[in-house]
């Protein structure tokens, strides 16, 4: 199954989920169209559109879609690691505070995703954290999170 097929079926599933979820929303009121009107309409539109494109795939087996070049194993691991790091950062930001969580994010990012040395990774992470703090907090007055665990 090609990526294009998977994408089409994924969109079809999204549309069907939209229809299913919309059915549980209030349908109609006396003075206005219901809350479910628009999402139901869009979900039906999505399903219809994907159905048309799937029929198109069937009819034109040699369709001119370019083959998808997926990442190789090493690049795939770097992407997965980056996503894991970014997600962890979302959870760590308010627990560890701006300084520690951001330093760890950038340090691990440089060290493991780009394979840089301990020293270079730590140096850049420190520089980035301090310069961004200076820019955001001092210059622009943006409130950056303090640690809820360490009380700092």
């Amino acid at each position: 199954m090609t990526g294009h097929w998977v994408a089409s079926i994924a969109v079809l599933l999204v549309g069907m989920t939209g229809i299913w979820l919309s059915r549980s929303l209030p349908a109609d009121k006396t003075q206005e169209l219901g809350t479910n009107f628009f999402p139901l309409l869009i979900s039906l539109f999505l399903c219809g559109g994907v159905a048309v494109s799937l029929v198109g795939f069937f009819l034109k087996r040699d369709h001119a879609l370019a083959p998808i070049q997926w990442a190789n194993r090493s690049a795939g691991l770097r992407i997965a690691l980056s996503l894991l790091l970014f997600t962890s950062y979302a959870f760590a930001l308010e627990r560890l505070g701006f300084f520690l969580s951001t330093f760890l994010l950038l340090f691990i990012f440089c060290r493991m995703v780009f394979g840089k040395s301990w020293f270079r990774s730590a140096s850049l992470a420190s520089l980035a954290v301090l310069s961004s703090y200076a820019l955001l907090s001092w210059a622009l007055g943006v409130r950056l999170p303090a640690s809820s665990w360490f009380g700092a």
Partner: protein, 496 residues
């Protein structure tokens, strides 16, 4: 108050030292980031948007407009020197600009690019000045059905102009509209698709989505490629010859006009404008066969077009509250963050802000010109900066930027989720811009559609075809959809 008086008043505000500083900073940052391959205006504005949160609305938009102009200028530098378009609308400039650089004429090419951008950008702002008020009066006659027609047409046009596959673009529009329904129902206030997650009650914001899809998505895509350094060709002469200037004058004016008109259209943008301007010049030339081998007209026309398209693109946002491309969507998002809703009353209720922005665009045009000419050497050095360092700063500003929107770590999570979605969409050749535009327009479209149906007896959809303006827009959208589905559009995705 006449247009001229309003403009002078706006110029007084825009020329204040602090606003000049914001315009200059925006233009400089935009130019510096525009030089970087991959980070186009949308990503740059999305990443730098949090810097403007603490500014007043005029200053914020002045800075963002400066960034937008700056990225347009910066993109041309790498196109000419390295054959790498810094952003999508500079793709066309590579065709002749790089050939000029290979012939030792990088200096004249860069100078003409800067001059053409400045002249056409100024022409575009004059057009904006003259057309903004009359169009805003027309916009006041628009009711819910007309808005539905206009928005459907705009989304269809955005899908048509911005991609090679209409079906995939329309799919992204559908997904964007569906994601836009998350949160509270705009009419009844009922919760939809929040799954008990408090963050989703306010809906999914444009900024985390855009930061994720453009910033994180681009970064993830770039992780697939090996780090590589680029060789740099040093320009020998900066100034163009008199012949270069004479040959460029026609293309600059024509490119400026084409760019402005395409910029006005919903879905039009700098990339489309530059393609069309280049095609027109080639068609008008006595030597079309020489295009692609270092013709100065091939640099002047697209650079003029992509800059004046910026001014044209402000019109639908100011007048109708409808962004014509993803960058305008972000600028509109910036205004909304400051509590200002662009639309038919925007010109009346916030005329001081509008005219300050228009006046600042003149200043914003001069700034990159002053930066671009003497700082070419610096831009080349920035390109030689290791990619891992640049990436680290992109990650930092994207994630902390989305957090600082509402001091909510859930926004960081949304940015990551949409970053991955943006990465997958890129891989599968689904355009990003229609999704972001649909996300922004979704709640407006829903409200207008439901209001129009409530106005119609028995909720009949006939109202969309009995109101002439709405009917024209919808018929145009249907024709465009059918024609483009049957025939592929020869344009690449601006967002990518």
């Amino acid at each position: 108050m006449s247009v001229f008086e309003a403009f002078v008043q706006g110029l007084t505000v825009a020329a204040r030292p602090e606003n000049l500083l914001y315009a200059g900073t925006g233009a400089m940052v935009g130019t510096l980031v525009g030089v970087l391959p991959g980070l186009g205006p949308a990503a740059t504005i999305a990443i730098l948007l949090p810097l403007t949160f603490k500014l007043d609305p005029s200053s914020a938009l002045i800075m963002l407009a400066g960034i937008y102009y700056g990225t347009q200028y910066g993109g041309s530098t790498t196109s000419i020197l390295l054959n790498i378009p810094g952003e999508a609308s500079s793709v066309v400039t590579t065709l002749d600009g790089y050939q000029m650089a290979r012939q030792g004429r990088a200096g004249p090419a860069l100078a003409i690019a800067a001059i053409a951008s400045f002249v056409a950008g100024t022409l575009g702002v004059v057009g904006l000045m003259l057309l903004a008020v009359p169009l805003s009066e027309i916009a006041l006659q628009f009711g819910p059905p007309e808005y539905v027609g206009l928005m459907v047409f705009g989304l269809t046009l955005a899908s048509y102009l911005g991609t090679t596959s209409m079906i995939r673009a329309v799919t992204m529009v559908g997904l964007g509209l569906l994601v836009g329904t998350i949160g509270l129902d705009p009419i009844s206030g009922t919760e939809r698709f929040t799954f008990g997650w408090l963050t989703l009650q306010g809906g999914i914001g444009l900024i985390p989505v855009a930061m994720g899809m453009f910033g994180i998505g681009e970064l993830l895509s770039s992780l697939e490629k090996p780090e590589s350094s680029q060789s740099v060709i040093a320009p020998r002469n900066i100034l163009p010859t008199r012949e270069d200037l004479i040959r460029s004058s026609g293309p600059v004016v024509r490119g400026g006009l084409i760019g402005f008109l395409i910029g006005i259209l919903p879905g039009g943008g700098a990339l489309v404008a530059s393609f069309v301007a280049y095609a027109v010049e080639k068609r008008l030339s006595r030597h079309p066969e020489r295009f692609g081998s270092g013709m100065i007209e091939g640099v002047a026309a697209p650079e003029a077009a992509n800059n004046s398209a910026v001014a044209g693109a402000f019109i639908p946002m100011f007048i109708f509250g409808i962004p014509s491309n993803v960058v305008m969507a972000l600028l509109m998002g910036a205004l909304m963050i400051h509590g200002i809703q662009p639309g038919p009353l925007f010109m009346k209720e916030h005329s001081a802000i509008v005219w300050t922005i228009i006046a600042s665009m003149y200043i914003g045009n001069v700034m990159p010109l002053l930066l671009n000419l003497p700082l070419v050497g610096l831009f080349v050095r920035l390109l030689q900066f290791p990619y891992w360092i640049l990436s680290t700063f992109v990650v930092l500003f994207t994630l902390i930027g989305s957090y600082s929107l509402e001091n909510n770590p859930d926004d960081v999570l949304l940015t990551v989720i949409f970053g991955f979605f943006g990465y997958l969409a890129r891989k599968l050749d689904y355009p990003l811009a229609p999704f972001v535009l649909a996300l922004l327009l979704g709640p407006m479209l829903e409200r207008a559609m439901r209001q129009a149906l409530i106005m119609s007896p028995g909720y009949s959809p006939k109202i969309f075809f009995t109101q002439p303006i709405c009917a024209v827009f919808l018929i145009l959208a249907i024709v465009l959809f059918v024609v483009s589905t049957l025939r592929r559009a020869p344009v690449v995705d601006e967002a990518n």
